[in-house]
């Protein structure tokens, strides 16, 4: 799978990441690091624990990472849940988590396929 195919599959912005990081090798390296990124798991756990502060921070971190990697789809859904948590709306956050999870799974699969 090419980097471009991967970004198309996961709803990322290939042109933007290419203009910033310049080489596919670099994109592969950083995208690969996403597999180690724990903020999604932390978000799920802290939401379950009703720990709003920690959940907010986890969502915020996830959002920042996606921003840096131009994972646009997951960035958008993690942005929405970050804002809900910033306002302290846990119920809204619970609902938004479904979309985040869907985008996260798709992104994870795409990146795994890319790294091979």
């Amino acid at each position: 799978m090419t980097v471009q195919e991967c970004y198309e599959q996961i709803g990322g912005d290939y042109n933007e990441i290419m203009s910033r990081l310049r080489t596919e090798e670099r994109i592969r390296k950083f995208a690969g690091m996403f597999l180690k990124e724990q903020s999604y798991n932390t978000l799920v756990q802290t939401l379950k624990d009703r720990n709003q502060e920690e959940a907010f921070r986890a969502a915020h971190t996830l959002k920042g990472v996606c921003q840096n990697l131009s994972f646009t789809a997951l960035f958008k859904s993690s942005y929405d849940i970050t804002e809900a948590l910033r306002e302290g709306d846990m119920e809204k956050a619970d609902k938004l988590l479904e979309k985040v999870t869907e985008d996260y799974q798709r992104t994870l699969e795409g990146v795994k396929a890319l790294i091979g």
Partner: protein, 363 residues
């Protein structure tokens, strides 16, 4: 040692890596995953750091906490901080700048732009730190050479005044006492009579100039200067001329607009004038007599009274004070008599304890 280390503070490893790869070829890179780790590393390696990338929202201590710490400990003056943030709000930007951040970079960032901005900021800081160090060094050099100059100046003034003493066969302590008493008088004059506008610097010059008050005695013949008994009227007229001779000597080295020269000249010439206009050589009256000459005049009279001379034994300090107050040994302004009252205890103590003047003169 040159600063060559960059600290990257972000709770997401991936974000740290994305900055790290930009710099790791040219710099040492340290990483911290929360504000507390950052503070610990700054404490430990502050001397080596040339730049900090700082995330705002982190566990334990936030980015603002780190900035606050850096302000409290003055690190912010030497280590530039670039904030990294996902969302830009005017409020948080304002706050970051207010806390001393040098720049703000927004996610997602392009590595080459980050590199350019970081280099600009590091150059600016390095330049400023160098300028400050150079300035410190220059200031220290200037202070050192000024101190040396003052020391040689003191040495020369003391040497010159002891020539006069040596010739008059005086003990050598008279000049030290006059300097010390002048210093005491000026202390009270500055405190209670600010209208004379005598600064600390001027006071130090006046004290030195006081040492030269009898410079003109060098030109008085031995037959008069060293005469054991009372002087005849004619001899006294010649003796009075030491005020003029002193000035003639000084005029050979006249320095226009030099404060120290003016004090030396005025003190040599006017330290025998009287407030009522019946002194010599110019019969100046009241405030026509420069205040520094008035000071040296009264302390010179006091010291003469309480010292032993070939033609008289010393007066008791209380008696000397009474004679000065009652106008038996010259007429002084009310301000001078007031300063005398204020300084009396210290004058007496110095006279009676044979105070070690050589040690007390240092400003």
């Amino acid at each position: 040692m040159a600063r060559d280390t960059i600290l990257i503070v972000d709770d997401a490893e991936l974000n740290r890596e994305m900055i790290k790869f930009i710099f790791e070829e040219q710099y040492n890179v340290l990483e911290a995953e929360d504000g507390q780790q950052a503070i610990d590393l700054i404490n430990e390696r502050g001397e080596d750091l040339c730049l900090i990338f700082l995330d705002l929202l982190m566990p334990k201590k936030s980015g603002l906490d780190v900035l606050h710490f850096m302000n409290l400990n003055s690190y912010i003056k030497y280590i530039p901080v670039i904030m990294i943030t996902g969302e830009s709000t005017d409020e948080s930007d304002e706050k970051a700048y207010e806390y001393g951040a040098s720049d703000i970079i927004y996610k997602p960032f392009a590595p080459n732009v980050v590199m350019r901005r970081a280099k600009n900021i590091m150059e600016l800081f390095e330049y400023r730190i160098n300028i400050e160090q150079e300035l410190d060094e220059r200031t220290r050099e200037l202070r050192d050479s000024r101190r040396k100059l003052e020391q040689s100046n003191d040495f020369l003034v003391n040497a010159l005044s002891s020539v006069v003493e040596f010739r008059s066969l005086e003990s050598g302590e008279h000049i030290h006492r006059v300097k010390y008493f002048t210093k005491l008088f000026l202390k009270y004059l500055r405190e209670f009579y600010p209208k004379y506008n005598i600064t600390k610097e001027s006071a130090a010059l006046i004290v030195n100039a006081a040492a030269l008050h009898d410079l003109g005695k060098i030109a008085i013949p031995d037959s008069i200067l060293l005469k054991p008994g009372r002087l005849t009227a004619e001899e006294f007229e010649e003796m009075k001329k030491h005020t003029i001779y002193g000035c003639e000597l000084l005029e050979k080295f006249k320095q226009e607009d030099n404060e120290f020269y003016r004090y030396c000249y005025d003190i040599c010439r006017y330290h025998h004038e009287r407030y009522d206009g019946r002194g010599y050589p110019d019969r100046l009256k009241g405030d026509e007599i420069p205040i520094w000459a008035q000071v040296v005049s009264i302390v010179d009279v006091y010291d003469a009274l309480v010292s032993e001379r070939v033609y008289k034994s010393p007066y008791d300090v209380e008696e000397a004070a009474r004679m000065i107050k009652d106008g038996e040994c010259g007429i002084f302004s009310p301000e001078m008599l007031d300063c005398f009252e204020l300084a009396k205890a210290e004058l007496f103590a110095a006279t009676e304890n044979k105070f070690s003047f050589a040690d007390s003169i240092e400003a």
